[in-house]
Symmetry: C2
DNA sequence: CGCAATTGAATTGTGCGCTATGTATATCGC
DNA sequence: GCGATATACATAGCGCACAATTCAATTGCG
């Protein structure tokens, strides 16, 4: 049997995910301007607003990002006085990240964003939920192949 | 009516897209090692293998990427002798990108990748197609809000 | 108790991806 | 024909995202 032809990019699920990810980031950018945050920074705050005082490792686990990505990102936020970083006393390998009053106060500015995003997607909540679950399941299978 | 609570990241479709995009890139990385290509570079080749001799503008349009991203990327491929870049004689604003023999020959090395990716997703073709179409439609709506 | 293995964070280097800006070229309207 | 406008590309700067590596701290085992 002959090998299948190379797919065109429009036939590829991975390209759909890749390019839609960029579209989301572009969509968020003007809406995060008031907070002066980038999209990955906003994700960090979403984690901290839900539960303050987490380790760099926990942040990386939740966001599926490397410490090489998390550490510089959190340092930039620290430099702006939005979070603090300090070594855990019980286990000095760990660095704990906490919100400052200013970082916590950003949440009020962010309150309108989720609705704007839902409207921007033009999707019903059920459809969005179904797609979200499928993507999480897909992410899990892709990472499982890597042996993570 | 009270404003809704901030969502957790696991409730956000955009985070699902964002993190699954990274998972796809991680999944591709070892499979592209034989070609010595990154995932975005591979996407450029997929466009060129389908139809050689395209402009930087056309590449950017197809991949939904800025010329600030495409130009350095293609220059790196040119430096390795995989493509050539040259000004269009009819319209000197345009730069045309063509495969070299070496760049064309890479396609043979890439033939096994699409099946590996399909297997890695663990999804049926119908399910993958449905998700792909929904993501393209979503991308279109998100970009439409930006006025692009 | 000492050492090997493991873990967590940080650093360095590289490749994006985007914004803003500048330059050159082409098009359009008067 | 000329000036204004638009287009295409390139550059600079910045923020990621990851791999590889290093270092410090912790854990587990003999």
């Amino acid at each position: 049997m002959a090998a299948p032809k190379m797919p065109t990019i429009d036939q590829m699920l991975c390209f759909a995910v890749y390019s839609t990810g960029h579209a989301f980031t572009r969509f968020y950018k003007p809406r995060l301007e008031a907070l002066d945050l980038t999209y990955p920074q906003y994700l960090v705050f979403l984690v901290l607003w839900e539960r303050d005082d987490v380790t760099v490792k926990a942040l990386g686990d939740k966001l599926f990002l490397d410490s090489g990505t998390i550490t510089p990102l959190v340092k930039r936020l620290e430099a702006r006085g939005l979070v603090t970083r300090r070594r855990d006393e019980a286990d000095e390998r760990q660095v704990r990240v906490q919100l400052t009053a200013e970082g916590r106060a950003l949440q009020a500015k962010a309150e309108a964003i989720p609705l704007a995003v839902i409207e921007g997607t033009g999707m019903g909540l059920d459809a969005a939920d179904a797609m979200r679950r499928e993507l999480f399941a897909l992410r899990e299978r892709l990472d499982a192949v890597l042996g993570e």
